[in-house]
């Protein structure tokens, strides 16, 4: 379990959590990025434009 940085609600986390994974907060719908796994730490996932290179 971890806390949503947007609404403060508890967010349930599945096993095999990976750094970088995006978890949706089921309470407020915020997209949360897994910053660390031991212990689990979440932050607001950045908005990123879809783009590409060569």
């Amino acid at each position: 379990m971890a806390e949503c940085v947007e609404c403060g609600a508890e967010v349930s986390l599945h096993d095999n959590l990976e750094v970088g994974e995006i978890i949706d907060c089921t309470t407020c719908g915020a997209e949360l990025e897994v910053i660390d796994v031991e212990p689990p730490e979440l932050d607001k996932a950045p908005e990123l434009e879809e783009d590409w290179g060569e």
């Binding site: 990976e18 970088g20 997209e31 990123l48 879809e50 783009d51 290179g53 060569e54």
Partner: protein, 268 residues
């Protein structure tokens, strides 16, 4: 009139006919800027070095290269290194006073670096950090105009110069079609995109439904509806060129005998 010609990189499009055609146009007093990519050659060199190219899928379904630090090194080796040097020498062999430049040189193509991308891996959405890519916002048109004015033919490639959020700059990956579009827009130049398909087919199964040129966003919309797969990237680039100031964008068959001359003359 200035013409920006986007040619393929290594494998996809043999540039020999294109180079001869550039030479013909320059001989006639036309100002030409050549822009090239070379993604497949980057992959070949990565593999020759025993490394695996990394491709990621975005949530929107676009598959693109993830350019980590090592990939950026190889990118520099292949694009401004081997391909640009060979194309520049190839044009000089045809009597063109070509001068090779990457987007880094003189801040030719600049914009924000993007170091993180959203990807989908094993069905999971993720933020992947450490990417070296960027979004083009500026072109140093003065540099190109000075060189064109002195009768040089610039041969331009990526990387572009990426501005870091915390200040500083670094070479980053950008799509060569969009780089060509940005250059064409900045120079108010016609953009000719050479590919190995002769344009865009309104009906992909019927070659008589070829749509080849657009000179306004409305004409482009027709093409956009017809474009599929990798062609959507070309259409995106075309849109950027037109909104940037290009009077016309032509997608032309690189394997035609005089692909650029035909495209500029309005033939097909």
């Amino acid at each position: 009139m200035t013409t920006v010609v986007k040619i393929g990189g290594a494998r996809a499009v043999d540039p020999a006919g294109a180079l001869a055609d550039v030479a013909r146009l320059v001989e006639q007093g036309e100002q030409v800027v050549v822009v090239h990519g070379g993604s497949t050659a980057v992959d070949d060199t990565l593999e020759a070095l025993g490394e695996e190219p990394t491709y990621v899928e975005t949530p929107g379904g676009v598959v693109g290269r993830f350019t980590d630090e090592r990939t950026m090194e190889v990118f520099e080796m292949v694009l401004p290194g081997k391909l640009n040097t060979d194309l520049t020498a190839g044009l000089q062999n045809q009597g063109v006073d070509a001068i090779g430049l990457s987007g880094v040189d003189g801040g030719l193509i600049t914009g924000r670096r993007k170091s993180a991308v959203r990807v989908v891996e094993d069905g999971k959405k993720k933020i992947k950090r450490g990417d070296h890519s960027g979004k083009i916002t500026d072109v140093n048109a003065d540099l190109l105009e000075t060189l064109l004015g002195d009768d040089y033919t610039p041969v331009v490639t990526v990387p572009m110069l990426g501005e870091e959020k915390e200040g500083g700059v670094t070479p980053v990956n950008a799509d060569a079609d969009r780089a060509a579009a940005a250059v064409a827009g900045a120079l108010d130049a016609t953009l000719v995109v050479l590919t190995d398909v002769p344009g865009i087919l309104a009906d992909p199964d019927d070659e008589t439904t070829l749509i080849e040129r657009a000179d306004d966003p409305a004409g482009l919309e027709r093409i956009e509806d017809a474009a599929e797969g990798f062609m959507t990237k070309k259409v995106m680039a075309a849109k950027e060129a037109l909104s940037g100031g290009s009077p016309e964008v032509v997608v032309a068959d690189a394997n035609a005998e005089m692909p650029i001359t035909d495209a500029v003359d309005g033939g097909g």
